[in-house]
């Protein structure tokens, strides 16, 4: 198990020019840990992060797209695994922050909490490569391989809450930041 913010900090240290789509708590934390115009937080409805990321990956096949999804979110949009595998974008890296609960909505456990092998679901759907990572040292060690793998790649990350970061929902859905994202991406 790793602290989610420590996991994101480790990612930030190795990030180069990837687009990063993050949802819910991971999105709140990412905006503090690594402000970046290529952070995409404009997901708008629960479960939709993986689908926004697919649009980005298809629209910019020259850019790696990393999505930090949640297990509650993915359960709400499980069919997206099949849609993504069917399109098979080589630049798509799907990281699942598995905490076993709906953390933003009172930390109520997800159905079958801790008993689902999400990476196996992704493999069956047709993802090219899958990982299951349970601690920070393994994440730091595998990250270069993950970022250099041909996608779609799926990574289950066993996480728990770390340090608390202030929530800023207007920032997550800000049109100003979305336009900055579009401009930055167009120039990249």
């Amino acid at each position: 198990m790793m602290k989610r913010d420590e996991m994101l900090k480790a990612f930030a240290r190795q990030r180069t020019d990837e687009i990063v789509v993050a949802v819910y708590t991971a999105a709140q934390e990412l905006t503090h840990i690594q402000p970046n115009d290529l952070n995409y937080t404009f997901v708008g409805a629960m479960g939709q992060g993986s689908s926004h990321a697919l649009g980005l990956a298809l629209g910019r096949p020259d850019k790696k797209v990393v999505v930090f999804d949640g297990d509650g979110s993915l359960l709400m949009n499980l069919g997206s695994l099949v849609t993504i595998a069917n399109q098979a974008p080589k630049n798509y890296i799907h990281c699942l922050c598995e905490n076993g609960c709906y953390e933003t909505n009172g930390s109520v456990p997800t159905p079958r909490s801790g008993q689902i092998r999400f990476a196996e679901l992704a493999k069956t759907a047709g993802y090219r490569k899958t990982y299951e990572i349970g601690d920070l040292a393994e994440w730091e060690r595998e990250l270069p391989n993950i970022l250099n793998s041909e996608g779609p790649v799926f990574v289950t990350l066993k996480v728990e809450p770390g340090e608390a970061y202030p929530e800023n929902f207007p920032r997550l859905y800000s049109l100003e930041y979305r336009e900055k994202f579009r401009q930055k991406l167009a120039a990249s």
Binding site: A45, S51, G55, G59, G79, R178
Partner: protein
């Protein structure tokens, strides 16, 4: 004047006129046979098939953020099923999601709000209350407005709905 009042070719030409390359779709009984299959076969289009309609709202939004125009084809049942994504992503998030919605079961030349089919009857009022611009397409003359609807949607960064009132042939 074509033998059939609405043709798939007229709709497809409007997509081309509007600069559409990506078509996100879940098969709709009104448009599948002549329009969607034709789009899949046409190398000028890239059709992204989804498993559920709310995915399509977000894929179109991601494509927009990456600099692409797209349309999203579905049946009215799928529109109803994906209302929250349309609300949160397209309306409140101001993403130009251009929906092409088949009104399965609508009687020919009957206004959707006058349809005997409950699901069809409620579509335009829902779009109105959500503030989403919509246009009914039943003839090629109507189809000729599709390009302008799409262009306005992207110019204003707001969603729109093109309601297909009969099967295009």
């Amino acid at each position: 004047m074509p033998d059939y009042p609405l043709t798939a070719a007229a709709i497809k030409n409007q997509f081309k006129r509007a600069g559409i390359h990506f078509v996100v779709a879940l098969p709709d009984r009104v448009t599948s046979h002549y329009l969607l299959k034709g789009l899949i076969a046409d190398p000028e289009f890239k059709v992204v098939q989804v498993c559920k309609e709310d995915e399509g709202v977000s894929i179109c939004s991601g494509l927009y953020a990456a600099g692409h125009k797209s349309v999203f084809m579905m049946q009215y049942t799928g529109f109803l099923d994906s209302i929250n994504a349309i609300r949160g992503v397209a309306v409140e998030g101001h993403f130009p999601v251009c929906m092409v919605v088949g009104l399965l079961g609508k009687e020919p030349d009957v206004a959707p709000t006058q349809s005997k089919k409950y699901g069809v009857k409620i579509i335009e009022p829902i779009l109105d209350v959500m503030g989403i611009e919509h246009r009914l397409v039943e003839r090629d003359a109507d189809a000729n407005q599709i390009g302008a609807v799409i262009e306005k949607s992207f110019a204003t960064s707001s969603p729109s709905a093109i309601l297909i009132g009969r099967e295009p042939r």
